[in-house]
Protein backbone atom coordinates (compact mmCIF):
# COMPACT_ATOMS: atom_id res chain seq x y z
CA UNK A 1 0.00 0.00 0.00
CA UNK A 2 2.69 2.51 -0.98
CA UNK A 3 1.63 6.00 -1.79
CA UNK A 4 2.77 7.66 -4.96
CA UNK A 5 5.15 10.59 -4.95
CA UNK A 6 2.33 13.12 -5.07
CA UNK A 7 0.59 11.50 -2.12
CA UNK A 8 -2.21 10.01 -4.15
CA UNK A 9 -3.51 6.76 -2.66
CA UNK A 10 -3.28 3.79 -5.03
CA UNK A 11 -7.06 3.32 -5.15
CA UNK A 12 -7.69 6.76 -6.70
CA UNK A 13 -9.08 10.05 -5.52
CA UNK A 14 -12.38 11.30 -4.17
CA UNK A 15 -13.01 13.03 -7.51
CA UNK A 16 -12.36 9.85 -9.46
CA UNK A 17 -14.81 7.86 -7.34
CA UNK A 18 -17.37 10.66 -7.46
CA UNK A 19 -17.09 10.43 -11.25
CA UNK A 20 -17.42 6.65 -11.19
CA UNK A 21 -20.58 7.10 -9.12
CA UNK A 22 -21.92 9.56 -11.70
CA UNK A 23 -21.30 6.99 -14.41
CA UNK A 24 -23.82 4.65 -12.73
CA UNK A 25 -26.55 6.82 -14.22
CA UNK A 26 -26.12 4.65 -17.32
CA UNK A 27 -27.65 1.50 -15.82
CA UNK A 28 -30.90 -0.40 -15.97
CA UNK A 29 -32.24 0.61 -12.50
CA UNK A 30 -31.52 4.27 -13.27
CA UNK A 31 -33.31 3.95 -16.60
CA UNK A 32 -36.31 2.28 -14.95
CA UNK A 33 -36.47 5.05 -12.38
CA UNK A 34 -36.37 7.69 -15.11
CA UNK A 35 -39.21 5.89 -16.90
CA UNK A 36 -41.10 5.84 -13.61
CA UNK A 37 -40.51 9.59 -13.28
CA UNK A 38 -41.91 10.11 -16.77
CA UNK A 39 -45.03 8.39 -15.42
CA UNK A 40 -44.91 10.41 -12.21
CA UNK A 41 -44.56 13.69 -14.08
CA UNK A 42 -47.53 12.78 -16.24
CA UNK A 43 -49.50 11.89 -13.12
CA UNK A 44 -48.55 15.18 -11.44
CA UNK A 45 -49.45 17.12 -14.55
CA UNK A 46 -52.83 15.40 -14.91
CA UNK A 47 -53.48 16.02 -11.21
CA UNK A 48 -53.11 19.75 -11.83
CA UNK A 49 -49.79 20.20 -10.03
CA UNK A 50 -47.73 23.14 -11.27
CA UNK A 51 -44.40 22.34 -12.92
CA UNK A 52 -42.42 24.30 -10.31
CA UNK A 53 -44.20 22.46 -7.48
CA UNK A 54 -43.58 19.06 -9.10
CA UNK A 55 -39.84 19.79 -9.43
CA UNK A 56 -39.73 21.26 -5.92
CA UNK A 57 -41.38 18.24 -4.29
CA UNK A 58 -39.17 15.83 -6.22
CA UNK A 59 -35.99 17.62 -5.12
CA UNK A 60 -37.09 17.89 -1.49
CA UNK A 61 -38.95 14.60 -0.99
CA UNK A 62 -37.20 12.27 -3.45
CA UNK A 63 -39.38 9.27 -2.68
CA UNK A 64 -41.96 8.31 -5.30
CA UNK A 65 -44.52 6.69 -2.96
CA UNK A 66 -44.46 9.74 -0.68
CA UNK A 67 -44.87 12.05 -3.68
CA UNK A 68 -47.78 10.00 -5.03
CA UNK A 69 -49.43 10.05 -1.58
CA UNK A 70 -48.84 13.82 -1.35
CA UNK A 71 -50.40 14.48 -4.77
CA UNK A 72 -53.35 12.22 -3.96
CA UNK A 73 -53.85 14.16 -0.71
CA UNK A 74 -53.63 17.48 -2.57
CA UNK A 75 -56.16 16.23 -5.10
CA UNK A 76 -58.52 15.16 -2.32
CA UNK A 77 -58.22 18.61 -0.74
CA UNK A 78 -56.80 17.20 2.49
CA UNK A 79 -55.59 19.64 5.13
CA UNK A 80 -51.93 19.77 6.06
CA UNK A 81 -51.98 17.60 9.21
CA UNK A 82 -53.67 14.49 7.73
CA UNK A 83 -51.45 14.92 4.67
CA UNK A 84 -48.35 15.06 6.86
CA UNK A 85 -49.48 11.87 8.62
CA UNK A 86 -50.19 10.04 5.36
CA UNK A 87 -46.86 11.07 3.80
CA UNK A 88 -44.82 10.36 6.91
CA UNK A 89 -46.36 6.89 7.18
CA UNK A 90 -45.40 6.10 3.60
CA UNK A 91 -41.85 7.26 4.38
CA UNK A 92 -41.28 5.29 7.59
CA UNK A 93 -39.71 2.58 5.47
CA UNK A 94 -36.87 4.98 4.61
CA UNK A 95 -35.61 4.86 8.19
CA UNK A 96 -34.67 1.16 8.24
CA UNK A 97 -33.35 1.47 4.68
CA UNK A 98 -31.04 4.31 5.71
CA UNK A 99 -30.12 2.56 8.95
CA UNK A 100 -29.22 -0.62 7.08
CA UNK A 101 -27.08 1.32 4.63
CA UNK A 102 -24.97 3.12 7.26
CA UNK A 103 -22.60 0.27 8.14
CA UNK A 104 -21.69 -0.11 4.45
CA UNK A 105 -21.37 3.58 3.74
CA UNK A 106 -19.43 5.01 6.64
CA UNK A 107 -15.94 4.81 8.08
CA UNK A 108 -15.07 5.79 11.65
CA UNK A 109 -14.02 9.19 10.32
CA UNK A 110 -17.15 9.96 8.29
CA UNK A 111 -18.87 13.06 9.65
CA UNK A 112 -22.50 12.71 10.69
CA UNK A 113 -23.43 15.81 8.66
CA UNK A 114 -22.12 14.10 5.51
CA UNK A 115 -24.29 11.08 6.21
CA UNK A 116 -27.32 13.28 6.95
CA UNK A 117 -26.83 15.05 3.61
CA UNK A 118 -26.41 11.80 1.67
CA UNK A 119 -29.36 10.17 3.44
CA UNK A 120 -31.73 12.61 1.71
CA UNK A 121 -31.00 10.85 -1.58
CA UNK A 122 -31.74 7.35 -0.28
CA UNK A 123 -34.77 5.88 -2.01
CA UNK A 124 -35.49 2.43 -3.41
CA UNK A 125 -33.36 2.65 -6.56
CA UNK A 126 -30.33 4.22 -4.89
CA UNK A 127 -30.62 1.75 -2.03
CA UNK A 128 -30.80 -1.32 -4.27
CA UNK A 129 -27.84 -0.10 -6.29
CA UNK A 130 -25.83 0.77 -3.18
CA UNK A 131 -26.34 -2.76 -1.86
CA UNK A 132 -25.22 -4.10 -5.19
CA UNK A 133 -22.14 -1.98 -5.90
CA UNK A 134 -20.85 -0.39 -2.67
CA UNK A 135 -18.91 -3.51 -1.73
CA UNK A 136 -16.67 -3.07 -4.78
CA UNK A 137 -15.67 0.47 -3.76
CA UNK A 138 -12.75 1.11 -1.35
CA UNK A 139 -14.37 2.01 1.96
CA UNK A 140 -12.92 5.51 2.26
CA UNK A 141 -14.33 6.49 -1.15
CA UNK A 142 -17.80 5.05 -0.66
CA UNK A 143 -19.42 8.34 0.34
CA UNK A 144 -17.87 10.01 -2.73
CA UNK A 145 -19.07 7.20 -5.01
CA UNK A 146 -22.56 7.18 -3.51
CA UNK A 147 -22.74 10.98 -3.62
CA UNK A 148 -21.72 11.07 -7.27
CA UNK A 149 -24.37 8.56 -8.17
CA UNK A 150 -27.34 9.84 -6.16
CA UNK A 151 -26.86 13.55 -6.89
CA UNK A 152 -26.68 12.72 -10.61
CA UNK A 153 -29.71 10.45 -10.38
CA UNK A 154 -31.83 13.11 -8.66
CA UNK A 155 -30.68 15.88 -11.03
CA UNK A 156 -31.43 13.80 -14.13
CA UNK A 157 -34.94 13.06 -12.91
CA UNK A 158 -35.60 16.75 -12.35
CA UNK A 159 -34.69 17.22 -16.02
CA UNK A 160 -36.99 14.32 -16.94
CA UNK A 161 -39.88 16.07 -15.18
CA UNK A 162 -39.12 19.32 -16.99
CA UNK A 163 -39.13 17.49 -20.34
CA UNK A 164 -42.44 15.75 -19.60
CA UNK A 165 -44.11 19.00 -18.56
CA UNK A 166 -42.82 20.65 -21.73
CA UNK A 167 -43.72 17.92 -24.21
CA UNK A 168 -46.38 15.67 -22.67
CA UNK A 169 -49.23 17.36 -24.57
CA UNK A 170 -47.89 15.36 -27.50
CA UNK A 171 -47.82 12.03 -25.64
CA UNK A 172 -50.76 9.78 -26.66
CA UNK A 173 -53.00 8.64 -23.75
CA UNK A 174 -52.06 5.01 -24.40
CA UNK A 175 -48.35 5.76 -23.89
CA UNK A 176 -49.09 7.83 -20.78
CA UNK A 177 -51.24 5.00 -19.38
CA UNK A 178 -48.46 2.50 -20.02
CA UNK A 179 -45.91 4.78 -18.32
CA UNK A 180 -48.18 5.27 -15.28
CA UNK A 181 -48.19 1.50 -15.00
CA UNK A 182 -44.39 1.35 -14.65
CA UNK A 183 -44.47 2.83 -11.16
CA UNK A 184 -46.58 0.20 -9.33
CA UNK A 185 -44.89 -2.66 -11.20
CA UNK A 186 -41.47 -1.21 -10.39
CA UNK A 187 -42.34 -0.95 -6.70
CA UNK A 188 -43.88 -4.41 -6.73
CA UNK A 189 -40.87 -6.14 -8.24
CA UNK A 190 -38.11 -4.12 -6.58
CA UNK A 191 -39.64 -4.38 -3.10
CA UNK A 192 -39.95 -8.12 -3.51
CA UNK A 193 -36.41 -8.44 -4.93
CA UNK A 194 -34.87 -6.55 -2.00
CA UNK A 195 -36.94 -8.27 0.73
CA UNK A 196 -34.37 -10.23 2.69
CA UNK A 197 -36.75 -11.57 5.31
CA UNK A 198 -39.88 -13.67 4.82
CA UNK A 199 -41.73 -11.37 7.28
CA UNK A 200 -41.27 -8.56 4.75
CA UNK A 201 -42.70 -10.72 1.97
CA UNK A 202 -45.69 -11.66 4.14
CA UNK A 203 -46.15 -7.96 4.91
CA UNK A 204 -46.13 -7.18 1.20
CA UNK A 205 -48.83 -9.73 0.44
CA UNK A 206 -50.87 -8.53 3.42
CA UNK A 207 -50.58 -4.91 2.28
CA UNK A 208 -51.51 -5.77 -1.31
CA UNK A 209 -54.69 -7.53 -0.10
CA UNK A 210 -55.62 -5.23 2.81
CA UNK A 211 -55.00 -1.99 0.89
CA UNK A 212 -58.04 -2.30 -1.40
CA UNK A 213 -60.18 -3.66 1.47
CA UNK A 214 -59.46 -0.62 3.64
CA UNK A 215 -59.76 1.65 0.59
CA UNK A 216 -63.37 0.53 0.27
CA UNK A 217 -64.11 0.57 4.03
CA UNK A 218 -62.21 3.69 5.15
CA UNK A 219 -60.77 5.51 2.12
CA UNK A 220 -59.18 8.26 4.23
CA UNK A 221 -57.09 5.88 6.30
CA UNK A 222 -56.57 2.99 3.90
CA UNK A 223 -52.77 3.21 3.73
CA UNK A 224 -52.37 3.74 7.46
CA UNK A 225 -54.67 0.84 8.35
CA UNK A 226 -53.23 -1.51 5.74
CA UNK A 227 -49.71 -0.70 6.95
CA UNK A 228 -50.35 -1.20 10.64
CA UNK A 229 -52.69 -4.20 10.39
CA UNK A 230 -50.67 -5.82 7.60
CA UNK A 231 -47.38 -5.19 9.40
CA UNK A 232 -48.60 -6.56 12.73
CA UNK A 233 -50.11 -9.63 11.05
CA UNK A 234 -46.93 -10.28 9.08
CA UNK A 235 -44.73 -9.78 12.13
CA UNK A 236 -46.82 -12.19 14.25
CA UNK A 237 -47.08 -14.82 11.50
CA UNK A 238 -43.36 -14.52 10.80
CA UNK A 239 -42.50 -15.05 14.47
CA UNK A 240 -44.95 -17.92 14.86
CA UNK A 241 -43.67 -19.71 11.78
CA UNK A 242 -39.99 -18.86 11.36
CA UNK A 243 -38.59 -20.21 8.11
CA UNK A 244 -34.92 -20.17 9.06
CA UNK A 245 -32.38 -22.04 6.99
CA UNK A 246 -34.86 -24.29 5.22
CA UNK A 247 -36.16 -21.49 3.04
CA UNK A 248 -33.35 -21.96 0.54
CA UNK A 249 -32.92 -19.65 -2.40
CA UNK A 250 -30.83 -17.08 -0.56
Amino acid sequence: MQKTAVGMPPEGTYLLWFGRGMRMIVSLPAFILMSAFVGFAGFARESGIDFVHAVFMTAFIWALPAQVVLIAAIGAGMTIVPTFIAVTLSSVRLMPMVTALMPDLRTEKTRTVTLLFLSHFVAVTAWVMANQYLGQVPRRFRTAFFGGFVVTLTSCNLVVIALVYTFSTGIPPMVLGALFFLTPIYFLTSLWATARDHVVKIAMVAGLVLGPVFYLIAPDFDLLLAGIVGGVVAFLIGRRFPIGERSGGQ
Binding site: V68, I74, M95, L182, A226, G230
Partner: protein
Amino acid sequence: MSYSSIDAGWWPFVYILIAGWFATDFWRYAGVLLGRRLSDTSQAFLFVRAVATALVAAVISRLILFPSGALAETALALRLAAAVIGFAAFLLAGQRIAVGIGVALLVLVGGMFAGL
Protein backbone atom coordinates in the same frame (compact mmCIF):
# COMPACT_ATOMS: atom_id res chain seq x y z
CA MET B 1 -55.44 24.43 5.62
CA SER B 2 -55.33 22.49 2.39
CA TYR B 3 -52.97 22.93 -0.55
CA SER B 4 -55.21 25.47 -2.26
CA SER B 5 -56.87 27.09 0.77
CA ILE B 6 -54.37 29.94 1.06
CA ASP B 7 -54.20 31.99 -2.11
CA ALA B 8 -50.54 32.92 -1.98
CA GLY B 9 -47.62 31.89 -4.15
CA TRP B 10 -45.52 30.75 -1.20
CA TRP B 11 -48.15 28.53 0.43
CA PRO B 12 -47.81 25.41 -1.82
CA PHE B 13 -44.07 25.44 -1.13
CA VAL B 14 -44.63 25.60 2.62
CA TYR B 15 -47.26 22.86 2.33
CA ILE B 16 -44.82 20.65 0.39
CA LEU B 17 -41.95 21.40 2.80
CA ILE B 18 -43.97 20.53 5.91
CA ALA B 19 -46.19 17.69 4.66
CA GLY B 20 -43.60 16.37 2.19
CA TRP B 21 -39.99 17.19 2.91
CA PHE B 22 -40.10 17.20 6.70
CA ALA B 23 -42.44 14.18 6.77
CA THR B 24 -39.92 12.24 4.68
CA ASP B 25 -36.43 13.40 5.64
CA PHE B 26 -37.33 13.10 9.31
CA TRP B 27 -37.16 9.32 8.85
CA ARG B 28 -33.96 9.47 6.83
CA TYR B 29 -32.23 11.56 9.50
CA ALA B 30 -33.58 9.25 12.19
CA GLY B 31 -32.20 6.36 10.15
CA VAL B 32 -28.73 7.94 10.15
CA LEU B 33 -28.79 8.62 13.89
CA LEU B 34 -30.02 5.10 14.62
CA GLY B 35 -27.49 3.61 12.22
CA ARG B 36 -25.06 2.87 14.97
CA ARG B 37 -27.57 1.71 17.56
CA LEU B 38 -30.34 -0.31 15.92
CA SER B 39 -29.19 -3.68 14.74
CA ASP B 40 -30.56 -4.73 11.38
CA THR B 41 -31.27 -8.13 12.89
CA SER B 42 -33.34 -6.81 15.81
CA GLN B 43 -37.07 -7.48 16.19
CA ALA B 44 -37.87 -3.75 16.35
CA PHE B 45 -36.17 -3.25 12.98
CA LEU B 46 -38.14 -6.11 11.49
CA PHE B 47 -41.44 -4.83 12.87
CA VAL B 48 -40.97 -1.27 11.55
CA ARG B 49 -39.97 -2.67 8.22
CA ALA B 50 -43.02 -4.99 8.08
CA VAL B 51 -45.40 -2.08 8.73
CA ALA B 52 -43.67 0.11 6.15
CA THR B 53 -43.65 -2.65 3.54
CA ALA B 54 -47.38 -3.40 4.01
CA LEU B 55 -48.09 0.31 3.62
CA VAL B 56 -46.16 0.63 0.38
CA ALA B 57 -47.82 -2.58 -0.86
CA ALA B 58 -51.18 -0.89 -0.24
CA VAL B 59 -49.98 2.02 -2.40
CA ILE B 60 -49.13 -0.50 -5.14
CA SER B 61 -52.63 -2.02 -4.95
CA ARG B 62 -54.22 1.40 -5.08
CA LEU B 63 -52.22 2.43 -8.16
CA ILE B 64 -53.17 -0.79 -9.96
CA LEU B 65 -56.81 -1.16 -8.83
CA PHE B 66 -57.91 2.47 -8.42
CA PRO B 67 -55.64 4.53 -10.71
CA SER B 68 -56.24 8.09 -11.83
CA GLY B 69 -55.44 9.72 -15.14
CA ALA B 70 -54.98 7.90 -18.44
CA LEU B 71 -54.59 4.51 -16.76
CA ALA B 72 -58.10 4.73 -15.30
CA GLU B 73 -59.53 4.26 -18.80
CA THR B 74 -58.19 0.71 -19.06
CA ALA B 75 -60.16 -2.27 -17.74
CA LEU B 76 -59.54 -3.35 -14.14
CA ALA B 77 -59.16 -6.98 -15.24
CA LEU B 78 -56.50 -5.98 -17.78
CA ARG B 79 -54.41 -4.07 -15.23
CA LEU B 80 -54.72 -6.90 -12.74
CA ALA B 81 -53.79 -9.53 -15.35
CA ALA B 82 -50.81 -7.43 -16.52
CA ALA B 83 -49.56 -7.04 -12.93
CA VAL B 84 -49.99 -10.75 -12.06
CA ILE B 85 -48.43 -12.03 -15.30
CA GLY B 86 -45.60 -9.49 -15.04
CA PHE B 87 -44.88 -10.51 -11.45
CA ALA B 88 -44.95 -14.22 -12.39
CA ALA B 89 -42.47 -13.52 -15.20
CA PHE B 90 -40.29 -11.57 -12.76
CA LEU B 91 -40.20 -14.59 -10.41
CA LEU B 92 -39.59 -17.11 -13.22
CA ALA B 93 -36.71 -14.99 -14.56
CA GLY B 94 -34.87 -15.14 -11.24
CA GLN B 95 -36.35 -11.91 -9.85
CA ARG B 96 -35.22 -9.69 -12.70
CA ILE B 97 -37.08 -6.40 -12.35
CA ALA B 98 -36.68 -5.54 -16.04
CA VAL B 99 -38.39 -8.78 -17.10
CA GLY B 100 -41.34 -8.14 -14.76
CA ILE B 101 -41.81 -4.59 -16.00
CA GLY B 102 -41.36 -5.56 -19.66
CA VAL B 103 -43.87 -8.41 -19.54
CA ALA B 104 -46.43 -6.38 -17.55
CA LEU B 105 -46.15 -3.57 -20.09
CA LEU B 106 -46.52 -5.98 -23.03
CA VAL B 107 -49.70 -7.44 -21.54
CA LEU B 108 -51.11 -4.00 -20.76
CA VAL B 109 -50.30 -2.47 -24.16
CA GLY B 110 -51.46 -5.64 -25.95
CA GLY B 111 -54.77 -5.43 -24.08
CA MET B 112 -55.08 -1.73 -24.95
CA PHE B 113 -54.66 -2.51 -28.65
CA ALA B 114 -57.21 -5.30 -28.31
CA GLY B 115 -59.62 -2.69 -27.00
CA LEU B 116 -59.86 -4.00 -23.43
